[in-house]
């Protein structure tokens, strides 16, 4: 699974760095480094919906506040679905 976080100007100002850090530590905590690749991208062209995050090809709009929720549902949840 590839999780891409927009680090363009607008998303940066809306907190993409904090989201990157939260996701990094959650991935470590749940020991899923092998299954999830975290990567950055310059502007994804959806600044209005920032912070833009993509899980494979699906787009999400995150804030630092709902990052953990997103991780539980989409990242951990997504991995479970992949296993089944």
């Amino acid at each position: 699974m590839v999780v891409t976080i927009c680090i363009g100007s607008s998303c940066h100002l809306k907190g993409s760095r904090e989201i990157v850090h939260t996701l990094e530590s959650l991935i470590k905590e749940y020991k899923i480094e092998e299954q999830v690749q975290l990567t950055g991208s310059f502007c994804m062209g959806e600044c209005v919906k920032g912070v833009c995050v993509k899980v494979d090809d699906k787009s999400y709009s995150l804030t630092p506040g709902n990052t953990k929720e997103f991780f539980m549902e989409e990242v951990l949840g997504g991995l479970k679905d992949e296993c089944h």
């Binding site: 680090i7 100007s9 607008s10 760095r17 975290l38 310059f42 209005v48 920032g50």
Partner: protein
Amino acid sequence: MNFSIDAAYKSLNKIKEELCGDKVELLKTVDSDIMILADGMGSGVKANILATLTSKILGTMFLNGASIDDCIETIAKTLPVCQVRQIAYSTFSILQVSHDGQVYLAEFDNPSCIVIRKGKIFSLPFTERVLENKVIRECRFQAEQNDCFILMSDGVIHAGVGNLLNFGWSWQNVAEYALSAAKETLSASRLANTLIKACDDLYMQLPGDDTTVAILRITQARSIDLFTGPPYNPEDDTRLIHDFIHSQGKKIICGGTSANIASRILKRPLVTSLNYTDPSLPPIAKMEGIDLVTEGVLTLSRALDLIKQYKDGPVDEQFFEELDKDNGGSRVAKYIIEDCSILCLFVGKAMNEAHQNPSLPFNLSIRLHLVDQLKEAVTAIGKEVHIQYY
């Protein structure tokens, strides 16, 4: 001769003095660059006035084509006479480098100019003559690529006298130190800073005299091409990238969307990292054939701040530490300050809709305003700037 001139100077004031008794003037005529260093007798206000008058008179007269003989006569007749010593006195050095590479150097009572050529101290073919009872040393020769000229006041060679060193630093020691320091950097400003730092250390931070170094380096003309902002009309993307990539300089792209455009047209992948070397700036990215790829306005604002700081001077060690940092802003600023004589900007005028969002901490539509400020600051630090809008 295809070269550019990088000149900078730095001074230490004598302990407890608010004004420096040394004065440096950097001037440009139509066909030459001139650097003048004057050291007024005594210290404080009096020395400052003598040195300022001397350097300004020399500069103004030289700029208008007067001969050295006329300049010296004028100085001798106009400098105010010291009540205590009954003489009017200020030493000086004049260095003129013409665009065809001819060098003219004239010195009166200052330590002799250090010239570094091809990693060695170059000894100068001085001749002496007497003008208005002053012995003037002069020489003319042809400059070569990478020559480095160091003018200094006697505070430099006296650094440490009677304290750390019995007889001070001596010309030979300064020259050898400068030789090794000059190998470390191509920047005049950084070299001036290194030399002055060494003097300050020898004085144990209590300078016994006004101390100044003024450096002029001849470097190859180097250009930088910087692309920022998508074109107003997307049909112009290809034309912009074509112009940008076929220009001669090192390549920098500042802007996420801009980098994506370059990646698409050049068919080269853009690799972003998540390595935050500075918490307030987005990380930099990599693309084959492009020397530096960064985010846009935040990075450019940071770079502009550093360039303005450099312009307003004087810069110190902390400044160079900041400039050497591995974040996008520092790296852009370092390229422009130390590795560039001609800056070519390729600027797209598109507005980013999302940047108009009033909830953002500041208005990100400031790109064009930033470009204007960048042009002003970079021109002020003696570089040529060309802007092409799309």
